[in-house]
């Protein structure tokens, strides 16, 4: 089992944001995390990626407990995420954004940097090649040197995914990757997610509100409401689940 979340809870002040959440993700799985606004989905991501520490429960990655690890340590183990409110490095170019994720396996030392050896230049060239190759998958290689902050929203979202990929993750967490996209863009994204999952042997956990995407590509869906998991299963099961319907649409008044 790649990721195991066992009975995890967290609260802010008096508000129980996540309560006894348990979810497992195996290698190569594509799982969707859905729920109404405020359900705690992004908080779940923050817990898994190490930005928040769980109050109770355990999070295990590849069998090892990662509760106490810092966010960068978790990233180095192979869990990389994107953000709900895009967090690209605005004043850096697209290439530079992507290359940041490559730093954790940096092929040269500080000394080599100061000496500007041939090895340094070779490795820098490799980084750029890799960035271009990843961008090609998303058809964005023309933007390689554009400043990231001035790009359109939809493209920024895609570049965030590329940046995450550049870190060689085993599990990628996508936070609302289709936000703000129209139908054709969403369809393109669905194909891209399937493709990178196969090509890079990834497990994918994604938060989404776009049901077409969720039902379209997710193998399994987890539903959160008010911090609690109310359902888990195949897309068809979730669609028919009365608790899920109630969470999203409410219950008919019987007065």
């Amino acid at each position: 089992m790649l990721l195991e979340v066992k009975d995890v809870s967290i609260q802010f002040g008096g508000l129980k944001v996540i309560e006894k959440l348990s979810v497992n993700i195996d290698k190569g799985e594509l799982v969707g995390l859905i729920g109404p606004n405020g359900a705690g989905k992004t908080t779940a991501f923050n817990l898994i990626s190490g930005i928040y520490k769980p109050k109770t429960g355990d999070i295990l990655f590849e069998g090892q407990r990662i509760n106490e690890l810092k966010a960068f340590e978790i990233a180095r183990r192979g869990v990389i995420r994107t953000f709900q409110n895009i967090r690209l490095f605005p004043n850096l170019s697209v290439a530079e954004n992507i290359e940041v994720s490559m730093h954790m396996t940096c092929g040269y030392s500080l000394a080599t940097t100061f000496l500007s050896t041939p090895k340094f230049h070779k490795v820098e060239e490799e980084y750029r090649e890799r960035a271009l190759a990843l961008l090609k998958i998303f058809n964005l290689e023309k933007l390689v040197d554009s400043p990231a902050g001035s790009l359109p929203y939809g493209i920024q979202r895609k570049i965030e995914i590329v940046r995450a990929l550049a870190g060689n993750p085993k599990l990628i967490l996508l936070d609302e990757p289709a936000a703000g996209m129209n139908n054709s863009e969403t369809a393109e994204l669905m194909a891209l997610i399937q493709r990178i999952r196969k090509e890079f042997n990834l497990a994918v956990l994604l938060i989404e509100h776009d049901m077409k995407l969720v039902m379209g590509i997710c193998e399994r869906i987890v539903v959160l409401d008010h911090g609690v998991m109310i359902a888990q299963g195949l897309p068809k099961e979730i669609q028919a689940n009365p608790k899920v319907i109630e969470a999203y649409l409410g219950v008919e008044e019987t007065a």
Binding site: F12, T42, N46, I51, F83
Partner: protein, 300 residues
């Protein structure tokens, strides 16, 4: 024992003054998340305003409560106006900019006032007018309590009570607390954030003005650079108590005053100024949110 009590009295006095000035720092940090470096110079200008005002109105010829309160009034009014000008012309234009820019601007304003002060007032120290005459109030063995000590402590305490009432029990005070918590939410609730920030600067600067007159009573030497050291210590006091936290500023100020007095009294006066920084570093190492502060959780 008696020596200790004397030190405690002195320490509380000093601490009360630090607290007044620290409150100014902490209030501005609360609403703007800005370390108002210029606060110490507002304090300095208050002292000089009283100085020139006293000369103008002949206050030192009639020392007494009337003169004392007039001096206070002059200082408060001047400081408030200066505080408003600084907010309006130096800080407000940078409202949306990165915090760093405003911080650098604050440093610029602080230095500008120091050096302009040297040019306008002259760099050599002047003597604060004697608006009140000191006299021993009571003596108990080795302990001596002077009128000035009682005045300083009572004025400071009275002001702090007034401030507390203002913040906790008035609508404007509530608005200030709201803006400290969340600028944007406050706007959505119909609060005119600009007005509230102006009020905060006026209140904070007034406190500095009152502080400068109180200090002028006991330590009558004034010069354009007088704000730097006391400002720094008051700032440390604010951080000690938890920057942005009003009761924290008071606690921090008193602690600062007491510990400084103890260091001077029982250790050595050479390192008295280093104490402030030492305390600062200790606080930031072990409890960065301050004694009464809380670590804010950042939303991702």
């Amino acid at each position: 024992m008696e020596e200790l009590i004397q030190h405690i009295i002195n320490g509380l006095n000093l601490g009360a003054i630090y607290a007044l000035i620290a409150l100014g720092y902490t209030m501005v940090y609360g609403v703007l998340q800005l370390i108002n470096f210029a606060h110490s110079e507002v304090y300095m200008v208050g002292a000089f305003a009283s100085y020139y005002g006293a000369r103008q109105f002949g206050l030192s010829d009639n020392p007494g409560w009337a003169s004392f309160f007039i001096a206070l009034l002059i200082s408060v009014v001047t400081c408030s106006i200066l505080g408003l000008l600084i907010e309006r012309f130096a800080y407000r234009p940078l409202r949306g900019a990165p915090k760093l820019n405003t911080l650098i601007t604050a440093i610029g304003v602080s230095l500008f006032l120091q050096f302009a002060g040297q040019v306008v007032f002259g760099a050599d120290p002047k003597v604060f007018p004697e608006v009140l005459r000191d006299q021993p109030l009571f003596t108990y063995g080795e302990i001596q309590v002077q009128l000035f000590d009682v005045t300083i402590l009572s004025v400071a305490v009275a002001v702090m009570f007034l401030l507390n009432y203002f913040i906790q029990h008035t609508k404007i005070g509530l608005a200030i607390r709201a803006v400290s918590f969340s600028n944007r939410s406050a706007t959505l609730m119909g609060i005119n954030v600009n007005t509230i920030i102006m009020v905060t600067f006026v209140v904070g600067s007034s406190l500095a003005g009152i502080g400068s007159v109180l200090v002028g009573l006991k330590y009558p030497k004034i010069d354009p650079l007088m704000g730097t050291l006391i400002g720094l210590k008051a700032f440390v006091a604010a951080v000690l108590g938890g920057i942005g936290n009003l009761p924290g500023a008071v606690v921090g100020g008193l602690l600062m005053g007491l510990s400084e007095e103890m260091v001077v009294g029982y250790l050595s006066s050479t390192y008295r100024d280093a104490l402030a920084f030492g305390l600062l570093i200790l606080v930031l190492l072990f409890r960065p949110s301050g004694l009464l502060g809380q670590m804010k959780v950042e939303k991702v």
